[in-house]
Structure formats: C-alpha cells, structure tokens
C-alpha cells in the first residue's frame, strides 16, 4: 500500500530540508549572471510591439541569442506595451530600474535627453564607421537623432506618410496619377464624378495621420512648423498656401466631411468600401486594408509643390541607450550585435515599419513589395521630420505637436473647412507656444 502525503507527513526534518534547498537556490540565483557565461551584469533591453505578435517572438529570439564578449553581460528582453508606455518608462528611469537599451515613442529619446538620462550614441556610431553599419543607414537618417550634445538615439524603423491611390478607381474615373498640386486637384475632381473621395484621411479618436498629412503638405511647399532655432513658426506664406490648398479641396467636396472624426479603422473601411480612391496613409495601408482591395492600392510618387520642392513628413523611430546601465560598453556591444542581426524582423514579415538599413531594403523579401520599394526609394530621401523647415534633427519641442490637442484641433478645424488658413495657423502657433512654455 502506498502512503499518502498528508499534513502529518510534513516533518520538521523535511521542513528544514526544504528551507535549506530554497535558500541554496536563492543564493545560487543571486550569484548567477542571468544566463551570461561571461560574468558581466545583464543588459536590460526593452522593446515595443512594433508589429504583429510574431515581431516580439522573433525579436526576443534575436536578443537572447546574443553572446557577449568576455566581461560583458548578456541581454535580457522585455516587451513594453504601448498602453501607458510613457509612465512605464518615466517611472522606471526615475527610479533607476529602467532598461539599459530601449526603443519607445518617437520623441522619447529627446525627452529623456533633456533630463540627462540618455547615454549619447556618438562613440557607438563612430565604431560603426569601421564595420560598415554606419554607411548602411538610409540617407540623412542618422542626422535626425543629433542634438546639441550628441546623438540621442540610433534610427530603428521608419514610419512614413505617403500618397496612395486605388488603381481600379483611378482607371474608372479616367484620372491620371497626380505629380503636382494641380494634377492632384484634377484627379480628385475626376474621382468626385464617380462618387469617390480624392483626399482620404483620418483625424478622429487616436488617428493622428490627418495632422501628419497637413504638415506634409506644408513641408511639400517648403514650409513646416519650426524654424532653425526650434521655435514654432507656423504662420508663413508656404504654410498658408498649403492650408488654403487643403481648404479648397474640402470646399470642393474632395474630402470626406466625416474624416475629421475617422479613426484609422474608419479610414481603412472607406478604402475597403472604395469610397477613397486617392489619399494619404502609412506605408502599411495596403496590408492593413487587405482583401481584394489591398492589392489594388498603389503608392504614388511624391508630389512637386508649387515652390518646386518635394517633401513629406516621416517619423524615424529609434533605439536609445540610458546612462543607467551596468556597462556602457555592454550597451554598445549589444546594440552593435542587434543591428547586425535584426534583419529577420523585416525579412520574416513581422509587421514592423520600414527598415533603417540599406542592406535590409535590398533583400529579396523586401524587394518583393513594389510599394515598400517605392516608399524607400522615392519618399524616404525627400522626407523630413517635425523639425522642418528649420532643421532635420528632432528635439524636445516636437512633443508639443506630435499627437497633441493643439494639432488635433488644428487638423479637425481645417478638415471641417470652417476656418481660414491664416487664423488656424495662428491659433496652432500660439497653442504650441503655450504648451512649450511651462
């Protein structure tokens, strides 16, 4: 007869044995190096869900495969959800329990840099000049990370805003793909005749694309929101002309009147319902729309503005290093490894934005998407950051326009068509100044 375990069987000897075992495990765990065989303290890497669930699984695999050199720590991996990510990072960094290396919001590095929490990437980038990584970055990308004291971060993935059109609807309307502002108006007019909107956009709850596109129009005309001193300078002739152009489209009925309150899903529904024939969105629109309509969507070439210039807004998301690291050398070694081995994040279709490295854009997998190739070849070289026209390097002040109430109100006002360009831009400039003035 086998004995059954019960309370009485839990003897003092057994308890001492268990307690001893637990204590030994704790001591051993404390003495371990988190899986590193080389003895250094582990480098904490926090990354965001940049794509589908496959993204973080693949990303973790890459991170944990890192074999550090002797004396340097291995890397640990943590996914940080977008919900409340600012609080997650700020509380962790403030209490010195944050990561050594992380991605995050597009302007996060500049916020932490202003708080003296960022380890500049100058030495890292210098070291990449000898191993080919530095020259592998797409043109102008690294410079977007430069602040007064050094490089606040390293470009990681690109979030682009580009012009899309439905090939079948354009054919049906007898419209030609626009190349400048006048031909854009012509195409939108042709689409209107078949009951289709020629300026598809969204500026409702959580959809900031509408505002991004308005700034794209400004940049396309040689304008933008900030001058070379990083001061808001919105009421310029270039910006007024650009907004008058958008208002003209609103008044002519080329813009869906409900778009000022569309979520991203609503906008995609309109593309699916073939109510949008021409418009603006992220580089992933065709994939997001999917179905039978997705393959019909094509990225157009950048427009030439009335000033003869080309330009659009883009967001170089980045990876930053923090001063609170067990070893700066360890952080840099890990990032070097990561950038040399992150290619599968794009070649395996994990849903992350566009790659920052030329070598990845030249892979067979990436070249298979004609739209992605067009975005990288034609849009990325002419794209500018929030800092335009004063500069291209990001700075703390752009947090006053990136998804803020001031920008939302401005966008919804313009897309609603009941404001005039100059007064809307004046209000925007004053709101940005108020936000920056603390």
């Amino acid at each position: 007869m086998t004995s059954q375990s019960n309370g009485a069987a839990f003897t003092r000897r057994g308890f001492i044995g268990l307690a001893g075992g637990a204590a030994a495990t704790t001591i051993l765990a404390a003495c371990s190096t988190g899986g590193s065989s080389s003895g250094g303290k582990p480098i904490k890497f926090w990354n965001m869900p940049w794509g589908s669930t496959a993204f973080n699984a693949e990303d973790k695999k890459i991170t944990l495969a890192y074999k550090p050199a002797a004396g340097l720590g291995a890397a640990t991996y943590q996914v940080i959800q977008w919900a409340n990510f600012t609080q997650t990072f700020s509380s962790a960094v403030a209490s010195n329990t944050g990561p050594a290396v992380s991605s995050g919001g597009g302007t996060q590095a500049f916020q932490f840099e202003a708080q003296n929490k960022i380890a500049y990437a100058d030495n890292l980038l210098d070291s990449w000049k000898s191993n080919g990584l530095y020259d592998d970055f797409l043109p102008g990308l690294i410079d977007t990370m430069k602040v007064d004291k050094g490089y606040a971060a390293v470009p990681y993935n690109l979030d682009m805003r580009v012009m899309w059109y439905s090939k079948s609807l354009m054919d049906k309307a007898g419209a030609t793909v626009p190349t400048d502002w006048q031909t854009y108006l012509d195409a939108a007019a042709a689409l209107k005749k078949i009951g289709v909107y020629g300026y598809g956009t969204a500026a409702g709850a959580g959809a900031f694309t509408g505002g991004h596109i308005l700034v794209s129009w400004m940049i396309n005309n040689g304008g933008g929101l900030f001058d070379e001193n990083h001061a808001p300078n919105c009421v310029t002739s270039a910006n007024i002309e650009a907004m008058q152009f958008v208002l003209e489209m609103v008044n002519k009925g080329y813009v869906d009147p409900a778009s000022s309150t569309y979520t991203s899903d609503n906008a995609q529904s309109q593309w699916k319902a073939q109510k949008f024939g021409l418009g603006w969105d992220t580089a992933g629109l065709a994939q997001n729309v999917g179905g039978t309509v997705g393959p019909d969507l094509v990225v157009g070439s950048p427009l030439t503005g009335p000033s003869g210039k080309k330009g659009a807004l883009y967001f170089p998301n980045n990876i930053m290093m923090y001063k609170n690291t067990p070893s700066q050398k360890g952080s840099e070694a890990f990032l070097t490894y990561y950038f040399q081995n992150m290619k599968p994040l794009w070649t395996k279709g994990t849903g992350i934005g566009l790659p920052p490295l030329k070598s990845i854009t030249q892979t067979t997998e990436f070249q298979a998407s004609a739209n992605n190739v067009k975005v990288i070849e034609e849009w990325q070289p002419i794209a500018r950051t929030w800092a335009a026209p004063g500069g291209n390097a990001l700075f703390l002040g752009v947090t006053a326009v990136d998804g803020t109430p001031a920008m939302d109100t401005f966008t919804q006002g313009i897309l609603g068509g009941k404001v005039d360009a100059k007064s809307a831009l004046t209000t925007l400039e004053n709101s940005i100044k108020d936000t920056l003035k603390k």
Binding site: S90, K117, A205, P257, A258, S260, T261, P405
Partner: protein, 319 residues
C-alpha cells in the same frame, strides 16, 4: 432614601460606582484604554496605515503635482496656485466645463427618466419580464470599449446604418460625429444608453419597497394614476432617487472612456469634457501641473454637488 443619600448615590454614579454600591466616594482613577483595547488598536494599525497610504498618498501626491510645473518625467518647480489661475483663465477649460455640465445633466436625468419608466413597466406583470430585465441590462454589462466600437460602427461613416437611415428619411448626409453639435448629442445619447440600466435597477429596488396597500388606499380615496405616482411613488422613492443622482453625477463627470473612445474629444474639442481635458493635458501635452489642477477643480465641484444632494436625502429622512 434621604436627600443626602440620593446626592451621595449620584456622586457615586458620577465617580463610576453604582448608585447603590458601597465603594468609597472619591476621585476615580480611570484608565484611558484597557490593555485589550490597545491590543485591538495594534492589530488594526497595519490595515489603517495601508488604507491611509492607498487613499491619502495619491491625493497628497496629486495635490503636490498641481502646484508644480512638472511633466511625466520631471517633477518640476513649485509654482504656487499659478496652474489653477492658468486653467481658470483658459477658454478651453470653460468650454470643457460647459460640455461636462451638458453631458452630466443629460446623462443623469436622461438615464433616470428611461430607467424609472422601465422600472415602472417591469413592475407590472408582463410576459417574460425577467428576460426583458436581463436584455435591458446589457448596455451596462457590456464593456464600454465594445459599446463604443459598436456605436462607432453605427454612426461614423456615411455607409454606417444610422446615416443610411437618415439619408433614406430624406435628412441628407447626417454627420453624427463630424458635426460639433451632433457629436455632442451623439455622445450624450450614448451615455444615456449605457447608463439607463443602472438607473432601472436602482429604481426597481426602490419601487419594490413601496407598500402596494398605499395604492389601494389612494384608489379608495379617489386618486388617479398620476396622483398616485406623484404623491405616493415619487416621495417614497425619493431617497433612492437622490442617491442614484449622486452616483450618476459622479459617473458622468468622471466618465473618460465613453467620450474618448467615441470622439476623442472632437471634432474641434466640441466633446471635450473636463476629465478628457485633464487627460490630454497630462498625457498628450505632458503638463502634469495644469492637468492635475483641472482634476482637483472637478473633484471640488463634485464634492459640492454631492453635499447638496446628501442634504436633500437628510431632509427626506427627517420628513
């Protein structure tokens, strides 16, 4: 018993000795707390400290933030009441306050009227009343994220069911969310739709406590249905009504997801309530001081409203 002995007895009683007791009359040494009481207090201290930390610490911390000019990363410097002065001088604050008032009044009285009407209806014997009750509870039970998505599907685009219905009725292209006034109406209707089941439950329970014999007696006295409702039902459920108003006022003023998920506070801030404004100020403008100051002003107003309504409840109790 002589007068002296009565006085002596009272003296004894005052000294803690029974009036008829034989103990000495003199100053009684009273222990403030017994050992048992101290033990009980010691046992309670950890819970009390925990409660204070959970409830008091965030409030105190928020109060500190409201008088500093910090952001989510940097606590900033002390600026006194500048944040309060600043927000109170902003037109956006007063616009949000007005919408909060509209949203709250509509939310409280709209949901109460529908809830009361349904509670009265469900009190009568109708077939499958229980099933109806469960179905009517659904808007309250379903998570607001799901409800907001459903409502967005109902009204957002010209291809949505309600705009199509409006079009077929000859109302043209009705922009339920893109027109500022219609967006306010839509958000308020959404709030009433979400909230009426709660009111229905509150009123149902209040009505259940009303003695049906009172109606019989009123009928005998010649009272009609309306007179019975206004002179019997309403006074007898007034306590529950005031409580439900207080609760719904708090729910409405503090309601963030209903508005934010449906309109994000737009278009052009037309549906921005104070709580949405506070959120956007803190988490989108990264200005914790003014954002928390807005929240404190809201709290103050809520306290005043609650006190006024509680006084009404006390009046009802006294009457």
């Amino acid at each position: 018993m002589s007068t002296n002995s009565v006085a002596s007895g009272l003296q004894r009683a005052r000294s803690g000795v029974g009036a008829g007791g034989s103990g000495p009359i003199g100053p009684h040494k009273r222990k403030l707390l017994s050992a048992r009481a101290w033990t009980l207090i010691l046992f309670a201290v950890p819970s009390l400290v925990l409660l204070l930390l959970i409830n008091l610490y965030p409030v105190v911390y928020a109060a500190i933030q409201s008088v500093r000019n910090g952001d989510l990363i940097d606590p900033g410097n002390f600026v006194g009441f500048a944040n309060y002065a600043n927000i109170l001088s902003q037109p956006s604050f007063w616009k949000a306050a007005l919408f909060t008032l509209i949203f709250t009044v509509t939310g409280v009285f709209g949901s109460w009227l529908i809830g009361l009407a349904l509670a009265l209806l469900l009190r009568t014997r109708i077939p499958a009343g229980g099933v109806f009750k469960v179905l009517l509870l659904l808007p309250w039970v379903v998570p607001v994220v799901v409800s907001a998505t459903s409502w967005n599907w109902l009204v957002a685009t010209p291809q949505s069911p309600l705009p199509i219905l409006a079009q077929s009725l000859g109302l043209g292209n009705v922009l339920f969310l893109a027109d500022p006034v219609l967006a306010q109406v839509t958000v308020c209707v959404f709030k009433v739709w979400i909230s009426f089941p709660f009111m229905m439950m509150m009123m149902s329970s209040a009505l259940a406590s009303v003695d049906l014999n009172l109606y019989e007696a009123a009928k005998v006295d010649g009272a009609g249905s309306w007179q019975a409702f206004t002179h019997i039902t309403m006074p007898l459920i007034s306590r529950s009504t005031y409580i439900s108003w207080i609760l719904m006022t708090i729910f409405c003023v503090n309601d963030f997801p209903t508005i934010f998920l449906l309109t994000g506070g737009g278009p052009v801030n037309s549906t921005t309530s104070l709580v949405v404004l506070a959120y956007r100020t803190v988490f989108q403008n990264f200005q914790t001081g003014p954002g928390v100051a807005i929240a404190f002003v809201m709290t103050l107003v809520l306290v005043v409203i609650s006190v006024v309504l509680y006084r009404q409840i006390r009046k009802v109790n006294i009457e």
